[in-house]
């Protein structure tokens, strides 16, 4: 409240009033001045409250019920039953395992390879860098649906350019059925997700790299450090905040990034080979109308991912090496 008094001076109406009256004004603040910050915040808070936090609470509530989303159908309270049978739900263990595969599959393309590329290509001149930047960033701004449609065309089993080229070069005898081969499909989705991310990640690492003080590297070179030693003992530790951040981003968002490709390209198939937890939630909610299952699973995954995020923030506070 002390700060509020200071801010009273800021109101235009009170500006005209001179010092002797200050104490009286402080005693009863005009209502408008007190609520002013809240008025500025109101539109945003209202929108976010109604469309993010209200539904979040309602999802938690719905997780204790059995309901098929029809307004006329009864909501039956089932207590913790939806949670108890969570991993026995159809496809759940498969979706969970796939989600881990997605996370681990995307990590090299969102963290390891971009970091290596950023480090290796740090010697590129400025003008060439601008051109490369513009090109490798391009996938990031293309809509996921467009990305899915285009890769479906490139990966088309009989007419797609990839199979055509592979056959011309005699790499394969029979066309690869990228989306209908249950061993292949999940890796195709991982590749597409990685394709969209890899340039963006490279630029993030490259930006982080350019913030590192060059004197460390020069000092190490004078001391006779090899290139590998410089990377291992100087660059990687100094990049660790970015590395941790990108790992966290990948773990938290892998399932959301892949959702669009799964929904457009494979619908979770063949035989649930590409389904993941969020696609399953979507199926429970809008295909089989099992609101309780979807909500219970959503609640568990929300809490799980929040814990992961918390751990990463703790970890990066502890591990991070700060330059200056």
């Amino acid at each position: 409240m002390a700060e509020l008094q200071g801010d009273l001076r800021l109101n235009s109406k009170t500006l005209a009033v001179d010092t002797p009256k200050v104490r009286r004004r402080a005693a009863r603040k005009p209502v408008l001045v007190v609520i002013q910050p809240y008025l500025y915040l109101l539109p945003a808070i209202l929108a976010i409250g109604i469309w993010i936090y209200r539904p979040l609470l309602q999802t938690i509530e719905l997780s204790f019920f059995e309901w098929n989303m029809l307004p006329t159908a009864p909501r039956t309270f089932v207590g913790l039953r939806n949670y108890a049978q969570l991993f026995a739900l159809p496809d759940m263990s498969r979706a969970f395992a796939n989600t881990v595969v997605y996370m681990l599959g995307i990590l090299p393309m969102s963290v390891l390879i971009p970091m290596i590329i950023a480090i290796v290509t740090d010697d590129i001149g400025r003008r060439a860098r601008t051109i490369y930047r513009a090109m490798i960033f391009l996938p990031m701004i293309i809509a996921p649906v467009v990305v899915a449609v285009v890769w479906r065309w490139i990966f088309h089993p009989t007419n797609g350019i990839l199979n055509t080229m592979l056959e011309l070069m005699n790499v394969i005898q029979e066309p690869l059925r990228f989306f209908s081969d249950s061993n292949l499909a999940i890796w195709v989705i991982i590749f597409i997700t990685g394709w969209k991310l890899i340039g963006f990640s490279t630029l993030i690492f490259s930006a982080a790299l350019s913030n590192i003080n060059r004197e460390y590297i020069e000092a190490a070179q004078i001391d006779g450090a090899s290139r590998v030693q410089i990377i291992r003992f100087i660059l990687v530790p100094l990049l660790s905040p970015t590395i941790l951040f990108m790992i966290m981003l990948t773990l938290l968002f892998a399932s959301q990034w892949t959702f669009a490709y799964i929904n457009v390209l494979t619908q979770g198939g063949p035989l649930s080979a590409t389904t993941n937890i969020y696609f399953l939630l979507w199926n429970y909610g809008f295909r089989t109308f099992s609101v309780g299952w979807s909500s219970a699973a959503a609640t568990v995954f929300f809490i799980g991912f929040s814990v992961i995020a918390l751990l990463f923030i703790k970890l990066s506070n502890r591990l991070a090496f700060y330059d200056n």
């Binding site: 002013q36 590329i117 290796v120 490369y132 293309i142 649906v145 899915a148 930006a207």
Partner: protein, 282 residues
């Protein structure tokens, strides 16, 4: 953490030799990034007879696929929906976040840190954890398959507030105080002192919001069930699932759906990249 391009050239590397390996690596990466987009555009311009040809350059350029795509699905209608939705979302999100960011930057008030934390935590809430209650509310409001349903729920963006707050925070307090002494109201300070000085960051945020709103898939998927009432992303998906072998028209529709974003990127690629990277570095 600022821009990428201002990396100083290490003194040890002068006399420069050409970094062939780096160029090769980056050319490969650039090819990988650009080829699918190139292939989309080229397929859309090829004559129907050579649609399956692996040649990277078509024998002639034709717009027949565009004509077909335009008549096969209500592309014009969907593009209009998307333009209206993306522009309104961007404008409203900018407005609400300018106001909110100013409130956080200009005042200390009760509940400030809690409200800020609640905004910062929204990125942990996945779309799939809130979709069912939102779907129910949309249905109750009669907003399914309407532009209202596409726009109104997205007038606030926590991400935009947090990003703007970073630039508002660094705005010199002395300038605000000087304006106050001159008798300016808070409203006047925001729009006549702070805003004109931060126009560049607001503009680059606006571009970011426009692109993500244009490309949004989740929300239109929830709100709309009919392509003619939806955005072009949903229409494209519907087109793909309905006619599996119309690759030429499909690529034409995909090109049209990407055109505004590609245009923005061509004109402003430096700002676009910088604001994406900056928001990712946070």
């Amino acid at each position: 953490m600022t821009t990428i391009s201002n990396a100083p050239v290490p003194a040890s590397k002068l006399p420069r030799r050409i970094p062939y390996f780096s160029h090769a690596l980056l050319i490969f990466l650039s090819f990988l990034a650009v080829f699918p987009i190139y292939w989309m555009i080229i397929t859309s311009l090829r004559p129907a007879g050579e649609i399956y040809s692996p040649s990277p350059i078509p024998s002639e350029i034709t717009l027949e696929h565009y004509v077909r795509a335009w008549t096969a699905i209500p592309l014009g209608r969907m593009m209009l929906n998307t333009v209206v939705t993306a522009i309104s979302q961007t404008v409203f999100q900018l407005l609400t976040s300018i106001l909110a960011a100013f409130a956080f930057a200009a005042w200390s008030f009760r509940g400030r840190s809690i409200l800020y934390a609640l905004l910062a935590l929204t990125w942990l809430v996945p779309f799939q954890a809130i979709m069912i209650p939102n779907y129910i509310l949309l249905t109750q409001m009669g907003w399914r398959n309407t532009l209202w349903g596409l726009i109104v729920p997205n007038i606030g963006s926590a991400f935009a507030i947090l990003l703007l707050f970073q630039s508002f925070k660094s705005f010199p307090k002395d300038l605000m105080d000087a304006a106050r002494i001159d008798g300016a109201s808070n409203w006047g300070i925001l729009w006549r002192v702070v805003f004109p000085n931060l126009r560049a960051s607001v503009a680059s945020l606006g571009v970011l919001l426009f692109i993500s709103s244009w490309n949004d898939y989740f929300w239109p998927l929830l709100v709309t069930s009919r392509p003619e009432n939806s955005t072009v992303q949903i229409g494209l998906q519907a087109f793909m699932s309905s006619d599996m072998n119309l690759w030429g028209p499909l690529m034409a529709a995909a090109t049209i759906a990407s055109l505004p974003v590609l245009l923005v990127y061509l004109l402003l690629q430096r700002q676009v990249i910088d604001s994406f990277v900056k928001s990712g570095l946070r």
